[in-house]
């Protein structure tokens, strides 16, 4: 199975692990990730300002390329996924916006949201199947109590993202279970880590991040997994005492393809 792949800028420096293990795991599962040629930053934030077209152009370019290859566009970073999926939704549903973008890009054939945006987790669930993932597990993570941290961007706005129930998600817990570990459900798993507020008010970010970690620990978690580089940054920076890793790393470990790349 071949899919288009949009890594995102953080994944090539700060969050290399998210990217590297995404590739390795996909290979082990028989999926080829074809990186979008000359991809650029997704835009970082999906602003709701209607006249803001420029920050969405790079997303549309990536989407258009995937659509032309007739492949789903797979993302892995929560923030990139959020921006690209929301941009695609706007291209499908907001005529005026789509019109503006198409004219700006001087597209010969206008792009109208034909591509399908799929998060890596959705790819595992819907295209590969968690059962198939389970069969490929080499190092079952039996006995490990792992908490999934969704953050705020991965699932919301739920009407657009349509990945899972924003308040009661199960997709990462199901993955954790498929890898043989025990998922830990805790209340703050879909609350904000503090996000970009870390720039303006580090104290507030610290408070939010600490609450998430403490809540997960109180529920018995020994480890937290996430799909978001910013979440991981905030959780790590604010001194979590349990490991916070990308879900792709956990996946690679279970699939037996995690070599010590950082060493």
């Amino acid at each position: 199975m071949k899919v288009s792949y949009f890594p995102g800028c953080t994944l090539k420096n700060k969050a290399k692990d998210l990217d590297t293990y995404a590739y390795k795991s996909a290979e082990a599962l028989g999926v080829t990730l074809e990186e979008i040629e000359n991809w650029q930053c997704c835009g970082g934030v999906f602003t709701t300002a209607k006249n803001e077209v420029a920050t969405k152009l790079s997303s549309v370019r990536a989407l258009k390329e995937a659509a032309e290859k007739e492949q789903p566009l797979v993302t892995v970073c929560s923030a990139c996924h959020n921006v690209i999926k929301q941009t695609n939704h706007a291209m499908q549903n907001e005529k005026e916006f789509a019109d503006k973008v198409n004219r700006y890009m001087a597209n010969e054939t206008p792009y109208a949201g034909e591509a399908e945006v799929v998060h890596y987790l959705e790819m595992l669930r819907d295209m590969v199947g968690f059962d198939a993932v389970k069969e490929k597990v080499v190092n079952a993570l039996t006995g490990k109590k792992i908490a999934a941290y969704y953050g705020c961007l991965l699932l919301r706005p739920s009407k657009v993202m349509q990945m899972d129930d924003a308040e009661n998600p199960t997709i990462m817990e199901d993955l954790i279970a498929a890898l043989g570990a025990t998922p830990v459900v805790y209340a703050k798993r879909n609350e904000c880590c503090g996000g970009y507020i870390a720039m303006e008010s580090p104290e507030l970010a610290k408070k939010n991040s600490n609450e998430v970690v403490e809540n997960a620990k109180a529920a018995g978690a020994e480890m937290i997994i996430t799909a978001c580089p910013l979440c991981r940054y905030n959780l790590m920076k604010n001194g979590t005492d349990i490991p916070v890793v990308y879900f792709t790393e956990l996946l690679a470990e279970a699939l037996g393809v995690k070599e010590d790349t950082n060493a």
Binding site: K159, E167, N168, V185, Y186, A187, K188, E214, N215, A218
Partner: protein
């Protein structure tokens, strides 16, 4: 040729606002057969009906077309008018120029044009009408009530009071329903058990009432006045007529770790159990999923201790067939599952409970003997947060909730809050609401007392997140009036879960061919004028199966349903519907197509002798319709390949004449 009179109704401005009624009556004057045409402000009024009667006499009319509202509304009215004028009532045709015309069009031109076309179709049809005479069928003078909650109990008592026999079928081991689980009732705060249990006893002692508990309806056949119902009596492994309800078996049963559904799983019961002390019938039931004797043959203690010898491990499900003239649905409601509302941490903390669970926690017969204690550590909670509208009034896209208002939650939450403050003044009580809805007798006064006298803190806004942290529940909410975020450290969170119809309602509706709305509430025959009747003749609705209701409303509806049943059972004969299918035996080729599509089982095949042209006789298999069972749906007329099947009053040639008139 018929002599047709056309009567166009204005319906005040309902029709006349978008249809030029004068133009319609003028246009229809020129249709074939029409000898008189007029219009009037309210055709259904006494004056309007007299106008029809006079016209029939003056112009020797043989057929009538009324251009008015839907036939569901006033067809019966105008048929009576025709009868009063000496015509056969089935010589009336209604052209629906209100619901299907004036109400859906905004423009006078299109409205008028369409009204004329609909009128022409009705004239074309009435020209082919023939007088019909309805048959009669006898009435079985017994009623069936499905569901033994307060709705079913009240309906049964009222029917029995009029002298008719009633059977109650209840799926649980006892009657009583949700009301039996409640502590006190708003707005008077009288205890639910004190007013319900005497009624339950009345039911048990009433000679006219039989209770089939632990039973369900599995099949319904027949029609109004003559229903054939199959009731499945589930094996309870206890002989009902012998068991004295002494409870010795319950005490001795070694399997005591079965979640007690009566207390919503907040404590345990034994495998053989009596749901609660005032259960009716007060008979033990063995839970086959928990009983060791039934599962692996090892135990038998209850049989040993039963002095009456009522235990019977070999008991089997029993099917009983009964006949009834009327059926009342009283299947009630359930709170929706809180599984999908994890933002309130219902699955994560024992101290997040539903309002019905709170009801059991404050009930003297409940798991804490009426002391308000947290389920997790049995400590007294000092801060309680009530959240209203959990799953009610949800966005239409939200799959987990309901769009409608559950109606009862505002009042019971006010009750819970008030009673808490009354009994435990040291407890802080918050209620989060979208709106407080208290339209009922003495309801708003009750709510205001909770706020003003008892100091309950009502906050307009919703709770966004509940996070269990240590022994506390961190509640994050918004106060919309102060426009600020609130953080409350609560000890107990109570969710006012939306209510939904019982799961048994949908399959039951299919059995009864009774209609339901998208939320699985039973639909009434008319939302205002026939609120306790289902559109299916002989099926009546009682209580929350028709929509969310509190106890006073349920009891009134239960009584109303009973009076409708009594009205039906008081008749010796029922006039049938003459618009039924009939088969032209000479054309019927005996293919069975009609029999297969008939949803009512009204068609059978008979072997009949026919005289052939050469004077010999030949036996042929032909369709025969039982007019008492046929509901006139017309499926068979469509399925019949040889055109032998036809529907009286809606004959194929009549329908074609209507189509021709419309397409002309």
């Amino acid at each position: 040729m018929q002599r047709v009179g056309v009567f166009v109704c204005w319906c005040g401005s309902n029709i006349a606002g978008t249809v030029d009624v004068q133009a319609v009556s003028e246009a229809l004057k020129n249709e074939p057969g029409v000898v008189f045409s007029t219009n009037y402000q309210y055709m259904c009024s006494q004056a309007g009906q007299n106008m029809i009667i006079d016209a029939v006499k003056e112009h020797n009319l043989t057929g009538i077309v009324v251009c008015s509202c839907s036939p569901r509304m006033h067809e019966a009215t105008f048929r009576k008018t025709a009868a009063a004028a000496g015509l056969n009532p089935y010589m009336v045709e209604i052209a629906n120029i209100r619901e299907q015309c004036s109400w859906v069009h905004k423009d006078m031109m299109t409205g008028t044009e369409k009204a004329i076309i609909l009128g022409k179709a009705a004239v074309a049809k009435v020209n082919l009408n023939t007088p019909l005479t309805p048959g009669e069928s006898p009435v079985t003078k017994r009623a069936l009530v499905i569901g033994g909650g307060i709705a079913g109990i009240q309906t049964a008592l009222d029917i029995a009071d009029a002298g008719f026999e009633v059977d109650i079928v209840e799926k649980k081991p006892t009657i009583g329903g949700k009301m039996a689980q409640l502590d006190k009732t708003f707005p008077t705060l009288d205890c639910a058990a004190c007013i319900l249990t005497p009624k339950m006893v009345d039911v048990a002692q009433n000679e006219k009432i039989r209770i089939f508990s632990y039973s369900e309806v599995t099949d319904v056949k027949g029609f109004v006045g003559n229903f054939d119902v199959t009731i499945k009596k589930n094996a309870r492994f206890v002989k009902e007529d012998i068991c004295t309800g002494c409870g010795a078996c319950v005490e001795k049963c070694p399997m005591k770790k079965v979640p007690n559904e009566f207390n919503l799983g907040m404590d345990n019961r034994s495998a053989i159990y009596i749901p609660f002390a005032q259960a009716v019938p007060k008979v033990a039931t063995i839970d086959p999923n928990a009983c060791n004797m039934l599962k692996n043959g090892k135990c038998g203690l209850c049989a040993k201790v039963c002095a009456a010898g009522a235990i019977d491990y070999t008991q089997k499900d029993e099917y009983i067939e009964e006949k009834y003239g009327a059926i009342v649905v009283a299947t009630g409601f359930n709170p929706i599952s809180m599984e999908k509302f994890d933002e309130f941490a219902y699955n994560q903390s024992k101290d997040v409970i539903t309002s019905l669970e709170f009801e059991r926690l404050t009930n003297a017969a409940g798991p804490t003997a009426g002391k308000l204690l947290r389920p997790s550590d049995h400590e007294h909670p000092h801060t309680i947060v009530f959240v209203q509208c959990v799953g009610s009034r949800c966005d239409s896209c939200a799959e987990k909730g309901k769009e409608y208002c559950s109606k009862i939650c505002c009042m019971y939450t006010a009750k819970h809050a008030m009673l808490t403050r009354d009994k435990y003044p040291d407890t802080e009580v918050y209620v989060f609401y979208i709106d407080v809805r208290t339209p009922g007798k003495n309801f708003d006064e009750f709510y205001r007392r909770a706020v003003e006298e008892y100091g309950v803190k009502y906050v307009k806004g919703m709770v966004g997140k509940v996070t269990p942290e240590g022994k506390k529940l961190k509640v994050q909410a918004s106060d919309l009036i102060a426009n600020k975020q609130l953080h409350i450290d609560a000890d107990l969170v109570v969710l006012a879960a939306a209510i939904e119809p019982d799961q048994t309602a949908r399959p039951l509706a299919t059995m009864l061919t009774a209609s339901m709305d998208t939320n699985d509430f039973f639909t009434e025959a008319h939302p205002k004028l026939r609120p306790v009747e289902s559109p299916t003749a002989g099926v009546f609705l009682s209580g929350a199966c028709q929509g969310p209701k509190d106890i006073p409303e349920t009891v009134s509806q239960a009584g109303a349903a009973a009076s409708k049943v009594i009205g039906l059972l008081a008749k010796d004969k029922l006039t049938g519907n003459p618009c039924v299918a009939s088969s032209n035996e000479l054309m019927c080729n005996g293919c069975s197509s009609c029999e297969r599509v008939c949803p009512y089982g009204a068609i059978t095949y008979v072997d009949k002798e026919f005289r052939m042209p050469d004077r010999t006789t030949k036996v042929r298999r032909v369709a025969s319709v039982n007019p008492a069972v046929c509901q006139g749906c017309g499926c068979c007329t469509v399925a019949c390949p040889s055109g032998a099947m036809d529907l009286r009053g809606f004959a194929n040639n009549q329908i074609m004449a209507e189509v021709d008139a419309i397409c002309k």
